[in-house]
C-alpha cells in the first residue's frame, strides 16, 4: 500500500497556498485585492505565495487595467485543479486510515 502522506503535495503544505487554491477552485477568476481581503494578508506575503503557485504552473496570471490601476487576476490551471484534487484525495485517505 502506498503511504498516503507521500501523495500529499508539498506546494499545498501551507495554509495560505491552500487558501488560494481553495478559492480558485470555486471561482473562475479572482483578482489580487480580493484574495488579499479574503486571506487577510499583506501585498508582499500574498505575492510570494502566488509566485510559488505560478512557478508550479498551478495558477495562471492575467494582467489588466481598470482605468489606470493595475488589475491582476488569477485563475487555476488544469494541472493545478488535478493536483489539488489529488491532494484532497490523499488527505481523505489519511483521515480514513487513521480511524
Amino acid at each position: 500500500m502506498i503511504n498516503p502522506i507521500e501523495q500529499l503535495n508539498k506546494a499545498f503544505d501551507n495554509r495560505i497556498r491552500l487558501g488560494i487554491m481553495s478559492a480558485l477552485m470555486v471561482n473562475s477568476e479572482i483578482n489580487f485585492n480580493e484574495l488579499k481581503e479574503l486571506l487577510q494578508l499583506t501585498d508582499g506575503n500574498l505575492a510570494s505565495h502566488l509566485k510559488t503557485l505560478e512557478d508550479h504552473q498551478y495558477i495562471q496570471v492575467k494582467k489588466g487595467f481598470i482605468g489606470r490601476k493595475t488589475n491582476t487576476r488569477y485563475s487555476i490551471t488544469k494541472n493545478g485543479e488535478k493536483q489539488f484534487k489529488q491532494h484532497l484525495a490523499a488527505l481523505e485517505k489519511m483521515i480514513r486510515s487513521m480511524q
Binding site: I5, L8, R15, L18, G19, S22, A23, M25, V26, N27, E29, I30, N33, E34, E37, L38, L39, Q40, L88, L91, M94, I95, M98, Q99
Partner: protein, 218 residues
Amino acid sequence: MNQSESIETIRDIRRMMERSSRFISLSGLSGVSAGVCALVGAWIAHPYVYGYKEYIIHPEIAIVQAMAEDYSILFNTWLFWIAVGTFFSAFISAFVFTWIKSKKEGIPVWGNASKRVLASVGIPMIVGGIFLFRLLQFGTFGLVAPACLIFYGLGLVNAAKYTLNEIKYLGYTEIILGLISMWFIGYGLYFWAIGFGLMHIVYGIWMWLKYDYKNIRA
C-alpha cells in the same frame, strides 16, 4: 500530519471555498432595516393609494400629460416619488449593515460573490421594473403589488445560491404572497407591506439570531 491536522486542513479548505463563493456577510439587520423602510413607505403611501389624498402633484399638467399619453405623468405622482424614496432608503440602510459586517469579517464587499448576488437579484428586478412600467401605462394598478412581490421573490430565490441559503425561503414567501394577492385586488398595499415590511423584519431577526448574535456573544 496527524488526524486533527488533516481535519483542520479540510475545514480551512471548506471555509475558504465558502467565503469566496458565497456572500455570507449579509447581515440580518439589513433585512430588519429594509423592512422598517418598507413599512414607513407603505404607511406614507396609504392615504394616496386609497384616495384620502390627491396622488397627482400638479393636476393641471397631468391633464395635458394624460391626453398626450405622455409617460412622464408617472413622475407627476406622489406615489412614484414615495416608491423611489422607499427603495433607496431600504437599499442604502441594508447596504450599511452588510458593509459593516463584511468589514468585520474581512470579506470583500465588492467581490465575486457579492457581484453574483447583485446580478442574480438584479436581473429579475429590472425585468420586473419594466413590466411594472407597462402595467402602470395600461392603468393596471391592481397588479402592481403582486408583480413587485413575485419578481422580487424570484430574484431572491435566484440569488440564494450565492449567499445565505435562507434567503431562498424569504423568496418563496414573497412569491406565494404575490400569487395570493392577485386574487385580492384592492388589498395590494397590505400584501406589499406584509411581504416587504413584516417578512423582511421576521427573516432579518431570524438570520440575525442564527448568524450574528452568537458571534457577538462568542
